[in-house]
């Protein structure tokens, strides 16, 4: 069942077309990730869905509810962590949570949220004294206080160290276990791959492609990149390249000194033949790897642009 449906959203700021035409739907209980480079329009999309920015065009439907008629109902159903984590700096996490709790008719107990976002220890420190990661976790906690069905997280891990990022991932997966629907944005392909049920890649205000991470990668190509390096030096890699080029399954090769890159649609066959060849010639292979395809390759394939975090 679709808990959220977005059709043909458009938004311009003066002459800038921030969102050109975006449509997608999110089903209950899924983690839906919007990924794209800076200025792609992610925040604008979220803010339109959250009812903060009126779209120039398009429809937003939360099941049977929409912003025109059911603003208060929707506000009770959603929890939001904005990109700039806004909260009262002079209050403690506990006080912030308690205050936000009074905005809602029913709220989860503050202690429970503190535990969920792992801030029990810091609950009595003023927010201005918290680290970036702790602030970010509190922002997620504030989004959770009303026990919402849908949670919007705008770049919850940007600027965090790897450990803190992993903490946030755990929280997001925890939300999924609780049956919540999460819509998040990120710059990190790795994060999108790890967390999401489905990924929506956006660039310049348009959906580039949308599917589950594995489907996107599979769709991309069945060509794989195999890397080898030889102990025997240049001669060995030269011979190996020569040999590989003669094989049907190899589409392309690239060599630099003793290391060799091969592209193939049948990596297992290639490796089998290649190792037979090196064994016969008594060449010693130092390293072998098959490069995994990632969402980065998906982005490059669709946009023709390099991906930068």
């Amino acid at each position: 069942m679709n808990i959220l449906e977005v059709r043909n959203l458009k938004k311009s700021f003066g002459s800038i077309q921030a969102v050109k035409d975006i449509s997608f739907s999110v089903s209950e209980g899924e983690i839906f990730t919007i990924i794209g480079p800076n200025g792609a329009g992610k925040t604008t999309i979220l803010e339109m869905i959250e009812g903060l920015v009126p779209p120039d065009h398009g429809e937003i439907q939360f099941g049977e509810y929409n912003w025109n008629k059911h603003a208060v109902t929707i506000k009770r159903k959603i929890g939001v962590q904005p990109q700039s984590s806004a909260m009262f700096d002079l209050l403690t996490p506990e006080e912030n949570l308690n205050l936000f709790a009074t905005f809602y008719e029913k709220a989860r107990p503050t202690e429970e949220i503190l535990q969920l976002v792992n801030l029990t220890e810091h609950r009595k420190n003023q927010v201005k004294k918290l680290s970036g990661g702790q602030r970010q976790r509190l922002a997620i906690g504030l989004a959770m206080i009303s026990d919402p069905d849908i949670v919007f997280l705008d770049e919850p891990t940007t600027g965090l160290d790897p450990q803190a990022r992993r903490n946030v991932w755990e929280i997001i997966l925890e939300l999924k276990k609780l049956g919540k629907t999460t819509i998040l944005t990120t710059h990190y392909m790795e994060e999108a791959e790890k967390l999401s049920d489905r990924v929506c890649i956006v660039d310049q205000g348009l959906v580039v492609t949308l599917d589950s991470p594995s489907a996107l990668i599979e769709k991309l190509t069945n060509e794989r990149e195999v890397r080898l390096s030889f102990l025997g030096g240049e001669k060995a890699s030269q011979d190996a390249e020569h040999f590989a080029n003669a094989l049907d399954s190899v589409t392309r090769t690239e060599r630099e000194g003793a290391s060799l890159k091969l592209w193939t649609i049948k990596p297992e066959d290639l490796l089998f033949d290649l190792f037979k060849f090196t064994k016969d010639k008594d060449y010693q292979v130092e390293q072998v790897s098959i490069r995994e395809m990632s969402l980065e390759d998906v982005f490059i394939a669709y946009t023709g642009k390099e991906w930068r975090d």
Binding site: V53, S84, L91
Partner: protein
């Protein structure tokens, strides 16, 4: 019911925010107290008049008018009147700075000129200003009497020239300082709003079903509470440390206080509506505050200012706020007195217009520029 709960929680949060905001305490409480103490010790004096100015009177030919004036001058606490001398002698004394000024009284009961002789170097000094101010009051009164003075003016005349003298400047300064601190609280306090907007907190609150009206109300109640602390603290120091005399009419005071505080918060709100950074806000608020501080008769009566500036003072809300506080705290004026209502009208107009324009500006720029 739920509204009440929300209000309570929001007010509690505001209370904590205010208690933890050191800046608020410094500028709202500590600074006015220090300022008042400084002014009081310099000008309000303990029993020995720290601020006094020496003048000589030139009474060329004694007559009815000059006699009356001489006796009234003698009663003014901060003016030390030396024995009468001739005009030539007086000029010498002024030149040698033996005295701050010489006042040449009318030569006959019909004469219309009073001359003030001051040293050119001292022309801008406080003493000169005070003497000139006092003198211009006299002249005004004398003129009024000549055409048949009205009772209202008569009364004012008495408060200036007769009476408990030395206490007056303290009372004047104390009530002025209270007016100034409350006004500044309103003018500067709304920087919080800019800050909240800049940090995206307003936007954040709007994503929740929180009632922004209740939030605004709790904020306002907190500000009024803070101003109440200012008024009590400054009054206590004024009365117990500097011996000011207060004779308070509470209903009047309550009304002046409420209207004044709301008006200045309205002006602060207006400034916040077009300031995108804290610095921009503080700049604008400082200009407004600075102008009002010196033009609204806080430290010295409006009457001591140059004639051409006085019309400006007479449209500034702080003038009326200070006067209103003086009337209700020192003169025990009843709420029904007319000058009160002129003041209320002025403050309500300023506050109301500022608030309305501010609201329109807030609406117009909406969310787009609040990122």
């Amino acid at each position: 019911m739920n509204n009440l709960k929300q209000f309570k929680q929001m007010f509690l949060a505001q209370l904590k925010l205010t208690l933890r905001e050191k800046q608020a305490w410094f500028w709202g409480i500590f600074f006015p107290v220090i300022l008042m103490v400084i002014f009081m010790t310099i000008f309000g004096g303990g029993s020995n008049d720290d601020f006094s100015t020496k003048v000589v009177i030139v009474n060329g030919s004694a007559n009815e008018t000059s006699a009356m004036m001489a006796s009234q001058l003698q009663q003014i606490p901060i003016i030390e009147v030396a024995d009468p001398v001739s005009e030539e002698k007086a000029k010498v004394l002024v030149k040698e700075k033996e005295v701050d000024a010489a006042i040449v009284l009318p030569e006959s009961a019909q004469a219309t000129s009073i001359k003030l002789i001051v040293n050119k170097e001292n022309e801008q000094s406080v003493s000169t200003q005070v003497v000139a101010g006092v003198l211009s009051q006299f002249i005004q009164q004398a003129n009024l009497q000549a055409v048949g003075a009205t009772p209202t003016f008569q009364q004012q005349f008495e408060t200036v020239s007769s009476g408990s003298s030395e206490l007056e400047y303290r009372d004047f300064l104390l009530t002025g300082m209270i007016a100034l601190s409350i006004a500044q609280g309103g003018l500067f306090g709304m920087v919080d709003l800019v800050d909240m907007r800049r940090k995206g907190l307003i936007k954040r609150l709007r994503m929740t079903p929180a009632k922004m009206g209740i939030f605004g109300l709790s904020d306002m109640v907190m500000r009024l509470l803070f101003s109440t602390i200012q008024i009590i603290l400054l009054s206590l120091i004024g009365v117990f440390v500097f011996g000011a005399n207060l004779f308070i009419n509470f209903p009047s005071l309550l009304l002046v206080f409420l209207i004044g505080a709301l008006a200045f918060n309205g002006i602060g709100y207006f400034i916040s509506s077009f300031s995108n950074t804290n610095e921009a806000y503080m700049g604008a608020a400082n200009i407004v505050s600075f102008l009002m501080m010196f033009l609204s008769g806080i430290f010295f009566p409006v009457e001591t200012m140059p004639e051409w500036l006085q019309p400006v003072s007479n449209i500034l809300p702080l003038t009326y706020f200070a006067d209103g506080l003086r009337d209700s705290m020192v003169y025990h004026t009843s709420i029904l007195a007319t000058p009160f209502w002129i003041g209320f009208g002025n403050m309500l107009l300023w506050g109301g217009i500022a608030f309305i324009i501010g609201s329109l500006l807030y609406k117009r720029q909406s969310i787009v520029s609040t990122r």
